[in-house]
């Protein structure tokens, strides 16, 4: 198995400048996180709000630089602060954001949103760009007639499909999914998760799936990393982590999530009766 993504000791500090009444301070958003993901697998990153998941996701997608640590994509070290980022490297990692209402430019047509990555990074002629966009629109469950519409004409679930199609335009190896379904209705969540699973099979995609929803993680993850205040407190295969959580935070996290299987419902009912 080949490793697509490796992170070594990633650290990210935010310097919040002071003002007249407040002192400047440093937020340690990510405090030395290491992991690796193999081709075709899904690493889920779980943790409560503010623990640094999105910050890490933006570093992995080369949006923001890490304060320190190494990021290797297909074994090649990348440091965007040095500005040595080639279009080839860019194409390998793409991202889908949580909020489908904020991730598409409201003034661009879907067609332009989809073809833009090709315009910037490749020399693909216009008709081929259009063909590829149409193909992906259909792949994600939309139709050709949607090509000329604006984002406000779509539902949240449809927008998320468009965002997924855009992320796939450049044929990436790795997709970072930052809570891609948590803004959607339950039924739509299931559809989008199924779509993601299908696309992963079809295109041999590797996923880093950021979430705070354990039932989603259980469904989609091969490996799980639990973050707590910027640190990875648990990291292992899904079954290991779910069967035998080591860290006290993970235990409370699991205990706080109501389980929906028959046994746990029975257990809860029995408890209720006993009381």
């Amino acid at each position: 198995m080949s490793v697509i993504l490796e992170a070594r000791n990633i650290v990210r500090d935010y310097h919040v400048p002071g003002s007249f009444l407040k002192k400047a301070k440093t937020v340690h958003a990510v405090k030395g996180v290491s992991f690796s993901v193999e081709k075709g697998k899904t690493l889920a990153i779980v943790g409560e709000s503010g623990c640094g998941k999105s910050t890490l996701g933006r570093i992995l997608t080369l949006i923001d630089p890490a304060t320190s640590g190494d990021l290797l994509i297909e074994g090649k070290k990348i440091d965007i602060a040095k500005g040595d980022l080639t279009p080839e490297m860019r194409r390998k990692v793409q991202i889908v954001f949580q909020n489908p209402y904020g991730s598409l430019n409201p003034r661009q047509k879907i067609g332009d949103i989809l073809t833009e990555p090709l315009v910037i990074n490749t020399k693909t002629p216009a008709d081929e760009r259009r063909d590829r966009a149409m193909t992906l629109l259909k792949k994600v469950g939309l139709e050709e007639k949607h090509y000329n519409r604006y984002p406000h004409m779509f539902s949240g679930g449809q927008r998320q499909r468009i965002a997924i199609a855009r992320a796939l335009m450049l044929n990436p190896k790795l997709l970072v999914l930052d809570e891609p379904v948590s803004a959607l209705d339950l039924s739509v969540q299931a559809q989008v998760l199924n779509l993601l699973a299908d696309l992963q099979d079809e295109f041999q995609l590797t996923y880093v799936f950021i979430s705070h929803d354990l039932s989603v993680v259980r469904y989609i993850a091969d490996e799980v990393m639990v973050m707590y205040f910027g640190e990875a407190v648990e990291y292992g295969s899904r079954d290991e982590v779910f069967a035998d959580p080591k860290h006290s935070y993970t235990k409370t996290l699991f205990a706080a999530t109501p389980r929906a299987d028959v046994e746990s419902i029975r257990a809860r009912l029995a408890k209720k009766k006993a009381a």
Binding site: I63, G102, R107, E116, I120
Partner: protein, 275 residues
């Protein structure tokens, strides 16, 4: 924008009627009064409604007042629109660069904006015209010189919030150049509140132009309402109509621009509140 909603407000309708009249005057001036409006047309100081060839009479030199009024509308509108366009262009570019770049660039640009804003606008215009000399383009530049700060501030505030949106991060992920991100992804979305300022700027520009012309600093080769008012001042007691007529035109134009602008802003706001 809903036209029906726009025309439900009587103020907006009045504004657009005035603007329409003004526009019609400006457009038909060279057709209805093809000669030089600065040329002598009849006996001097003819009162209005005496001679139907010169319905609004003549000034001290025997120039046709009605022709002056029409050609003056041309100047006023041209200067108002050009100055507003220039200030909005400069202001939104400065505001976008400041807000998007942040840091030192932001600091420097905003201090410059502060400096321009603290000096009274009319003094700035006066200074530029008296140094460079009066011509239509200098007058436009002189007005824009003091009017760009408002758009710059609003554009910057808007950009500060828009640059954190996910579609801006997405543009970075596909490798778009920061300058392109600033002007293609951020600026178009920051523009609506900046454009809402345009009616105020046009109205102020018309007034400033009139004031400059009144002081004899307008383009000497063009008829302007300010110039006509100044002309009439010498005979204010014996022939008040010479100052009153262009004065009324000026008041109505400014009122019309303002009412129409308010109407547009309000109907857009209502639509957004509804959506």
């Amino acid at each position: 924008m809903s036209l029906r909603r726009l025309f439900r407000s009587p103020e907006a309708v009045a504004g657009f009627v005035i603007l329409g009249l003004l526009g019609a005057m400006a457009l038909t001036a060279p057709l209805l009064f093809p000669g030089d409006p600065l040329a002598i047309a009849g006996q001097p100081l003819l009162r209005p409604f005496q001679d139907w060839a010169l319905p609004l009479g003549t000034d001290r030199l025997g120039r046709d007042v009605l022709a002056g009024l029409f050609h003056g509308a041309r100047t006023s509108l041209a200067v108002g629109l050009a100055a507003a366009a220039a200030s909005i262009l400069v202001g939104s570019v400065v505001g976008t660069v400041a807000g998007f770049a942040g840091g030192l660039v932001d600091e420097v640009l905003m201090r410059i904006t502060d400096a321009f804003q603290t000096v009274p606008g009319f003094l700035l215009s006066l200074a530029l015209v008296s140094v460079v000399g009066p011509s239509l383009s200098v007058v436009v530049a002189a007005i824009a010189l003091s009017a760009w700060t408002g758009p710059a501030r609003i554009a910057r505030a808007e950009v500060l919030s828009i640059r954190e949106r996910d579609y801006v991060a997405s543009a970075r992920v596909i490798g778009m150049h920061p300058i392109e991100i600033a002007f293609r992804e951020v600026l178009p979305n920051a523009l609506p509140p900046v454009l809402a300022l345009s009616s105020v700027i046009v109205a102020a520009a018309i007034l400033t132009e009139a004031a400059l012309s009144f002081l004899g600093l307008g383009d000497p080769n063009r008829v302007t309402w300010g110039g006509m008012i100044a002309e009439g001042r010498a005979v204010l007691r014996s022939a008040p109509f010479l100052s009153v007529i262009p004065g009324i035109a000026l008041v109505f134009s400014v009122l019309g621009v303002y009412l129409a602008g308010e109407g547009v802003v309000e109907s857009t706001a209502a639509r957004e509140g509804q959506a």
